[in-house]
Symmetry: C2
Subunit: 560 residues, 2 copies
């Protein structure tokens, strides 16, 4: 187990943005309403040296491109109604996450890698559910593990009938880990495979094909090679025909997403609207989001014409990038202090525009992106404290940061200049993973208070007293105590066990109902994390470690 290894001091070396012109592993093409996302992994170009990406197996580099492609289709190609996900390798659709990459990764990297790939698959489902883009997995070869989990994220799965290609989840029998990228959950909860069939399937290393794969609901159709292309094309057209129309799509109206990357100066990462300052000695970071510099254009055409410069899009893409950097590059940072700066009136004006033009496909995509970024924050294994202090603008979309935080501290200033304010977006534009808003979760005990709190905070800016009364902030303190109170809380937080905090936060953040998404992060990932550090998987003689070696793995046989 690598868990006892000293934290690596290596500097962060990679970014998260990419572009189709830079893709190494995917081909993206379009024909009218049909997009085609073709997996074409280059064996010899792993993200980190040390393994070969055989048979369309993937690593973080491959998945960053996939995540970019899905996002890009939504923004750049609003005309697309179906995306066919397939492979250009002979007899290999996708072999799943690269085993040697996994086996040679630290536990934190494994967990972060799986979380990211889960989010990518969830973004596919989000595109289907919210943007009406249907995904069709055209499984034209062997489809194993994470490969099948990718197919499971699609709306339909068509498997080639070539006598050999199967779908399989061989993680349990071959590697002693779980199909943790949503596999187990999606098999029984999304595709509603009978649990006993799922049990047989998930222990069958070679997988299933043919009639039984269809009967057991593992795939939607099995098609001979000779007809495969035609059937896929026909199904893609049908899916497109059934997709809901997008509003106000005009030819060539797609928005090209540019690269979002910070300027890094020592321990400060600067974006246009986001600044991330690391305090490595204290294991904290300060993440500041800034309001727009002005109100947006009132006219819809002018508002939409801002494209990638539109504040919500730019600012939350920057936040997304900062969160990923915090996860992957700054493992030792335990606590992120969320701050805001700027004119709340501009945030509220931006929110009004977002709400007013919500029926425009592009504006809707911006709103959906903000929601996904906030869900990424919810699922991040760091503590978040919002600090509502002088110069802050926790209004509307930025108030959502305080509601997403584990706690919020608000300054009681005598002039009542420090305030929070709500806007329409807090009422449902940015649902959490289980579909509830962050105010609904906050007021589960008394659901009507969620509306009351938002109404009070929408009517006028609330200073500390009012915000506390409305239940929107955790703790308030006056100018004499505020700085000390926050400092002590931060010091206490980072003194606690990082693991216990992760477990605690993941249990406290998602009160209320559960969804496939929260089951994946709450139940499946928690079990997967456990199994990842069990000697049976990652010990010296564990199955993941021993994979590909002639000796059999050794198991501690005690059932736990």
């Amino acid at each position: 187990m690598d868990d006892h290894a000293a934290p690596s001091a290596a500097p962060p070396t990679f970014g998260f943005g990419t572009h189709p012109t830079k893709y190494r592993h995917w081909k993206l093409s379009f024909e009218g309403e049909i997009g085609r996302l073709t997996m074409s992994v280059r064996d010899e170009e792993p993200f980190k040296p040390g393994y070969v990406l055989k048979l369309n197996s993937y690593d973080l580099g491959v998945d960053l491109e996939l995540a970019d492609a899905v996002q890009r289709i939504r923004f750049k190609h609003p005309e697309v109604k179906t995306v066919v996900v397939t492979s250009d390798k002979d007899r290999a659709f996708c072999a799943g996450a690269n085993i040697h990459m996994l086996a040679s990764s630290t536990h934190p990297f494994k967990v972060n890698f799986c979380k990211f790939t889960n989010e990518t698959r969830l973004s596919i489902e989000d595109a289907s559910a919210k943007s009406g883009i249907r995904f069709l997995a055209a499984v034209n070869g062997a489809c194993a593990g994470g490969g099948y989990e990718l197919a499971l994220a699609c709306d339909e799965i068509v498997l080639i009938d070539d006598g050999s290609s199967t779908v399989s989840l061989p993680e349990v029998p071959l590697l002693a880990v779980l199909p943790g990228t949503g596999g187990l959950t999606r098999v029984v909860d999304k595709r509603k495979v009978r649990r006993d069939h799922a049990d047989v399937f998930s222990t069958l290393a070679e997988g299933l094909k043919g009639k039984r794969a269809v009967e057991w609901r593992l795939v939607d159709a099995v098609v001979p090679r000779s007809k495969f292309g035609d059937v896929v094309a026909e199904r893609a057209r049908k899916l497109a025909a059934g997709a809901p129309p997008k509003q106000k799509v005009t030819a060539g109206a797609g928005v090209s997403l540019d690269d979002v990357a910070p300027t890094i100066d020592g321990d400060t990462l600067s974006y246009q609207y986001v600044t991330l300052k690391l305090d490595r000695a204290h294991r904290t970071a300060e993440l500041t989001m800034r309001a727009p510099d002005a109100a947006p254009p009132a006219d819809e055409a002018a508002y939409v014409a801002q494209g990638v410069a539109l504040w919500h899009l730019r600012a939350f893409r920057e936040l997304d990038d900062a969160i990923l950097r915090l996860r992957f590059h700054y493992e030792d940072i335990g606590l992120v202090i969320l701050k805001t700066r700027g004119d709340a009136a501009h945030v509220l004006a931006a929110d009004r525009a977002l709400t007013a033009h919500h029926d425009h496909w592009f504006v809707r995509e911006v709103e959906l992106l903000v929601a996904r970024v906030l869900r990424r924050l919810d699922a991040t294994a760091k503590s978040f404290f919002a600090v509502i202090d002088e110069g802050s603008c926790f209004a509307g979309s930025l108030l959502e940061l305080a509601l997403a935080a584990d706690r919020s501290y608000m300054l009681e200033d005598p002039d009542e200049q420090v305030t929070v304010q709500a806007s329409a977006v807090n009422g449902g534009a940015f649902p959490m993973a289980h579909g509830l808003t962050r105010t609904q979760v906050r007021f589960l005990a008394n659901p009507s208070r969620a509306d009351e709190a938002l109404a009070a905070a929408a009517k006028a800016p609330l200073p500390a007293g009012g915000a506390d009364k409305a239940g929107l902030v955790t703790l308030t303190a006056d100018e004499i105590d505020f700085a000390d109170e926050v400092r002590i809380a931060c010091e206490e937080r980072v003194s606690l066990s990082p693991d216990a905090l992760t477990g605690m936060e993941q249990n406290l953040r998602y009160a209320g109902t559960e969804s496939t998404e929260t089951k994946i992060f709450g139940r499946l990932s928690a079990w997967q994390n456990w199994i990842f550090i069990r000697p049976n998987a990652t010990g010296e003689r564990g199955a993941l470690t021993m994979y590909g070696k002639p000796e059999r793995p050794h198991f501690d046989t005690r059932r736990t």
Copy 2:
């Protein structure tokens, strides 16, 4: 970490049954409709030598008595409408699970201990929800960790206001583990404490008291010492007045539960209706349940008069005991083969009686107990295969075993003597932890098929062909192949990683919605299991290991 230790070869030394006359740690008393369950833990009588049970801290011995008391109140004291849970220690309500016991236990024991204590607390909530027995935690002293989790399982919590007594969940700050006996889940999901308040509370080792404890919904009332007894008595009366009436309760009608314990002969454990045969070499066990020897009396009075001898009660109490033994004593057994023997007609007759007399409080309690035992089976970290072979009687209540199993194998015999059959109980008498029946979970893809399958199987016994068609069994084979097929499946199963199987099964068994109970076992326990084997908790310098020592624990600071 004790995880690498060789499996202990020590023989099982303890049973699970007890009786009020044998209680060491609890006092049980009654005054009309009000029961009183007083925690009075004897410091010097731990379940295993090596630690002292200070301040009403508990171990398995204490919890076995509590579980027994809750069960016994339901069967022996149908007149009881409120149970006051309190302590007779000065200034100590309950300090939670004994830390030294936990720190000195193996990982499998810790997990099994927590699972059992969770089931005990869930049985309190089951008694409240299903039997109309309200529980009032009269917290008359310090109430920490598992002590507060016990209070959380009650319907109401009254905290004494004596200047010092608090409620607290100090697990994260003091021990680097989670309040895993439902604490985190119940705080936000049951008591609906605001998540930011829960965050502050769960990191505050000293806990909260007074007005803030009430405002934050952690307790229902805070009462000065001088009025504590009166207020508790008054609230207990009110709770009793609001409890739904029980049907057909007559004076002295309570049923005394006798001890259920097997005769152990080598590797065979024999009860009246249950036999458990261990095959240690193959890491499997065969658990056989037998049908009643005759149909039950038709007359309600005579049926009820059977008391503890009533087949459902006896047989499923035996199953419960066998499951607990499998969990605690036979950690190396990975697979349990479920079999049945006897006359299906007698099972169906017993089911008809259970259904017909369901409005009698005692019969209802029997039904609820059977449901709890089956839920205990669902939550057990062993694989279960049902083998439906010659002489079997998988009918009604016993069919539920096949539906609970991970898989079922059914013999196709030429004479079609091997059958399965449904009864009314399969339609909802024994819900799973999330409230769905096992047939509903099975047919999530097509809910009407659940009813169709049960209707077909209720009309007449279904031989293998019909059972397969109805979707009630996993695999069928004829006499030539059956034995080999089952043998190979068993061998394959036990060859897989025990950890991976546990994680897989816990993700496949509970498709569909989630409840507090499934969140506790699926989400909270999974995170707890992970944290229990992290060096930050149980490593040489982990917080649980170092508790009580002068040195500070050492944490790997990487957030995962």
